[in-house]
Symmetry: C2
Subunit: 287 residues, 2 copies
């Protein structure tokens, strides 16, 4: 996601310094006018706004607080914007760290596919000091279409987790519905059309239902990422002391899918797990 | 639902004979031009198309095949249209019964609220012989906006059950999401707005989310009806030999709600069950 987001920032004529572990995207962005840096600290020394988009908390903490990390170069008053999907409690801890070094932090995870990132059409959910939000809003607008200020630090990450709860259960509904439709001998594409028009309609059904019907399991959003996001939801629910039994069950299904080797497929591959659960033949499991 | 549907049929200038167990709706429809009948058999003797809209299978079988039932008065070639939500296997059995008496049957359950029924805007999912469907289409069009022919007998009922699978799991997603949002201290109405714009969006979220946020649990569709529909889904899945674990779990939740006394509230009262599950005080359960 990072590269198309960086391109959109360049496209709005912001001056941009970039760093990435592997060199190729840095070179590509440099050829478009970005300044290539040797480390996160190097980026921070040159920037009023520092943005990270990383796979998990370990990577964020490393890039922020590790050797040659952002904190080593952070300018006074700079805003650190973490757009990774991470735990809201982690976001709050990082915000304290950034503030102790004289900066401000925003947790600003996104919703939307790589395609939405390319189009500058991401949804961005932001938590942190409002003054920091207002300072970076024009940069966020270069990357996203719907930008929401949700409250203090952690509120952006929490909103993203809320979104994933709805996504996971809606998709589970799509898969169970299509399994029923299929085994009932109905014309699956027609069922998708009918249900989409009414109270059973959802983004997941309209967008992933037809892909399941045509057995297209290529990723818009990967199973392995959904597994991670739902683990974050469960950890947050545990800390808040609330039961989310449906989400936990969906979380177990995505874990199954991932360990069965479907991690790089799109989340709609959940349907393949349901098919395995309802196979009449035991051939697959014979030794 | 029956009365507004009957009014829409009258509104399109069809001649209409009506019967109902309690007298008041019959009188009201008679004052608008319908012919009041003394029994289902009496309706059938006067009609080319006979429509039922009843709470459950026991009622449908009674009205169709019981004493003074539809079958006793059925005209040769008449079409019996059952718009109740029932098991597809039950629909098929009733279709055989009707055919053995020289008629044709359609299972044609609906999706949509009482409001949609009043507006003639129901979604109607039809299974049965295509010739019968074509014969009654103009009558169905008086009641519904989106009318789908799904295949042979049972296909209408199966499609309705598919719809309820999606509805139930989407609503469970809404409830778990809003519980998380609420306990995380987020502004719940804003979270609904954010999630609705993206991949977590659904009819259930857009329509029932705001009601939950303002604690409006009045029924659009009742908990007791959802409990019944999900029981039908589970029975159908059992007969087809497919596991629907998420739907079964949602079904248990609606059963809980119903036995706890929430049966006449709207399905969004599922949120109240989640609140009970996460109460920190044990006061309620003290003897």
């Amino acid at each position: 996601m990072g590269k198309p987001m960086a391109k959109n920032i360049l496209g709005k004529n912001f001056r941009l310094a970039v760093y990435n572990r592997s060199r190729a995207p840095v070179d590509e962005l440099a050829s478009m006018g970005a300044f290539p840096c040797k480390s996160p600290a190097d980026v921070a020394m040159r920037s009023d706004v520092v943005i990270t988009m990383l796979p998990d908390e370990v990577a964020v903490e490393q890039v922020l607080a590790g050797p040659s990390g952002v904190l080593e170069g952070l300018r006074p008053g700079a805003v650190f914007v973490d757009m990774s999907t991470v735990s809201p409690f982690f976001s709050r801890r990082m915000a304290e760290l950034v503030e102790s070094r004289g900066g401000l932090m925003l947790d600003a995870p996104v919703s939307g596919s790589t395609f939405a990132a390319e189009q500058g059409a991401l949804t961005i959910m932001v938590g942190g000091p409002r003054e920091a939000f207002e300072k970076v809003l024009d940069v966020l607008q270069a990357m996203g279409k719907n930008i929401f200020y949700m409250g203090e630090n952690g509120a952006g990450s929490f909103t993203k987790l809320c979104n994933q709860v709805a996504v996971a259960l809606n998709l589970q509904g799509v898969c169970e519905m299509l399994l029923l439709a299929s085994k009932a001998g109905l014309e699956v594409k027609k069922v998708i059309e009918v249900v989409s028009t009414g109270a059973g309609g959802s983004w997941q059904l309209s967008n992933l239902g037809p892909r399941i019907a045509s057995r297209d399991f290529r990723p818009g959003f990967k199973v392995s990422h959904m597994r991670k996001d739902l683990r974050l939801v469960r950890e947050a629910a545990e800390r808040l002391g609330i039961p989310l039994p449906g989400t936990s069950f969906a979380s177990e299904l995505f874990k199954s899918l991932d360990v069965l080797g479907y991690g790089s497929e799109g989340t709609q591959a959940l349907y393949e797990l349901y098919e395995r659960l309802s196979e009449t033949s035991r051939n697959r499991s014979e030794p």
